[in-house]
């Protein structure tokens, strides 16, 4: 990572340190609330990631509003594209942290009470990465176009529509037929590629918008 980018990531995370501690309570508490039920258990990780993702994006946006981060960062000798890269990297770093804490929490719970809690289902993690990539892809560019209030409402509407479309798509018989035949490794690999493409598109759009932004 370039030194400037590294410093910006450090700034992003440091500025949110007060709230980050609370975000990490979600993957600790949430798995404990969901007792052994195969479907719910897999879903718990996705819901946990979505919950943290929403609070995280909103938290960064609120921090931008409160501290006028746009002016502060753009008076420093840094490139605008690095500011956006730093934001995305910070978000993904927090997601990685949340995932690790979630795994740890699930593992401890499973060992302590195996009849109540199942072990972590690792196969859900690639889907989780696609999930957060979609989340960021909608939330972040919208935030740079609109203000925090408008973008919050619009992104929720867009995300609902998007997930409804995805569910509808995945329910199609021919898709189900393909997925059933596919190996889990290939599915996971495909999901990672989808996540990477979404990330690249979202960060490129955000950079274009941010480059034109006035403070």
């Amino acid at each position: 990572m370039k030194p400037q980018l590294f410093n910006l990531v450090k700034m992003e995370l440091y500025s949110a340190k007060k709230y980050l501690m609370w975000y990490f309570l979600v993957p600790i508490i949430y798995p404990a609330l969901i007792r052994y039920q195969a479907n719910l258990s897999a879903l718990s990780y996705l819901v946990c990631i979505a919950l943290v993702g929403y609070i995280l994006c909103t938290g960064f946006a609120q921090s931008d509003e409160k501290y006028k981060t746009g002016i502060m960062l753009n008076t420093l000798p840094v490139k605008r594209k690095d500011i956006i890269n730093a934001r995305f990297i910070s978000l993904y770093l927090v997601y990685v942290g949340i995932t690790l804490v979630h795994i740890l929490s699930k593992t401890i719970l499973h060992f302590a009470a195996p009849h109540l809690y199942d072990a972590m289902n690792f196969s859900v993690i690639p889907a989780g990465i696609v999930f957060v990539s979609l989340f960021n892809a909608v939330q972040i560019p919208l935030y740079y176009i609109f203000d925090i209030r408008k973008s919050g409402i619009i992104s929720i509407i867009v995300l609902f529509c998007l997930f409804a479309l995805i569910v509808h798509f995945l329910e199609q018989a021919w898709i189900v037929a393909i997925l059933v035949k596919m190996d889990t490794i290939i599915i996971n690999f495909s999901l990672m590629i989808v996540a990477a493409i979404i990330f690249l598109i979202a960060s490129s759009i955000s950079k274009i918008i941010y480059k034109q932004k006035e403070f």
């Binding site: 007060k18 006028k68 008076t75 000798p77």
Partner: protein, 287 residues
């Protein structure tokens, strides 16, 4: 004299306001005041200089580099002090410094520690708990510590009590002692400029109406006071503005010789302050 900033034909339009072809140069080792009433375009100009907003046309060169193409290199050498001071308020001065310092290529921690002591700033206090004067000092401290060559300040003294303002003025004077650093600061508090500025640029309604060396501008103008009987059509032509009261007249002229020739010893003549000059010119433009 070497110039550190060159602004050419700078234009920026909004729905209800526009900067109209701004031109000026800043000489190295000087303090230049950018003065104008609220809403005259000072902050818009400064935001254009810093690329916080995109200008519609014109070009800006800072420290010999194009302000858009070499934005990063320029900002590495700029000391930017904005009216509020934008920082992560919940961090202490030391924490904020630790985040900012690695971003600059020429950060000098010894200088930081020296000026931290000199400005009597509490390193462990949260930024949100600082007074406005302390915030300004902190902004200047950060700028000095990365060895900034040019300080761009937007209303650094507004909202400060006279004591702290005087303190800041002294700091600005100290900054340019080595003649390597240059200060460009906007203000609507004209008395600050009288104390410290070498050059002054007057702005009103998005246009520069007067600029040059402060002493030369003051010497070229004169405040004339006298009885109402003194005024006639011939004399009035030589005034920028005249303020008439039942007790007499007071006016500003930029043609000292002509006014003295016409009014002779019947009037009194005073050197105008920057405020006098600003007021008379802006009133004329409003009319």
């Amino acid at each position: 004299m070497e110039t550190v900033m060159n602004v050419n034909q700078l234009c920026k339009s909004y729905k209800d306001f526009s900067l109209k072809s701004i031109n000026f140069q800043i000489k190295k080792g000087t303090i230049t005041g950018f003065v104008g009433p609220n809403g005259s375009g000072k902050t818009t100009t400064i935001k254009c200089l810093l690329n916080l907003i995109r200008h519609d046309s014109g070009n800006i060169s800072i420290l010999g580099l194009d302000s858009i193409k070499h934005e990063r290199e320029i900002k590495d050498q700029l000391g930017i002090v904005l009216d509020v001071g934008y920082y992560y308020e919940d961090l202490t001065l030391s924490e904020m410094k630790r985040l900012i310092a690695p971003i600059y290529s020429a950060w000098d921690d010894k200088v930081y520690q020296h000026y931290l002591q000199r400005f009597s700033l509490p390193a462990d206090r949260k930024i949100k708990d600082l007074s406005k004067g302390m915030r300004m000092k902190y902004s200047i401290l950060l700028a000095i510590s990365h060895n900034a060559k040019l300080f761009i300040m937007d209303e650094p003294t507004s909202g400060l009590d006279p004591l702290i303002r005087n303190d800041l003025i002294e700091i600005l004077k100290d900054l340019i002692q080595d003649e390597e650093r240059t200060v460009f600061f906007s203000t609507h508090i004209t008395s600050d400029l009288d104390k410290v500025a070498d050059d002054v640029i007057f702005l009103f309604d998005g246009q520069i109406f007067l600029q040059g060396e402060k002493d030369e501008i003051k010497n070229n103008h004169v405040i004339v006071k006298g009885s109402n009987a003194l005024l006639n059509e011939d004399a009035e032509k030589h005034f920028i503005g005249i303020h008439k009261t039942p007790y007499g007249i007071e006016g500003l002229s930029n043609d000292k010789a002509a006014v003295k020739r016409l009014l002779k010893d019947n009037a009194t003549y005073e050197v105008p302050t920057i405020e006098d000059i600003l007021l008379y010119y802006t009133r004329r433009r409003i009319q």
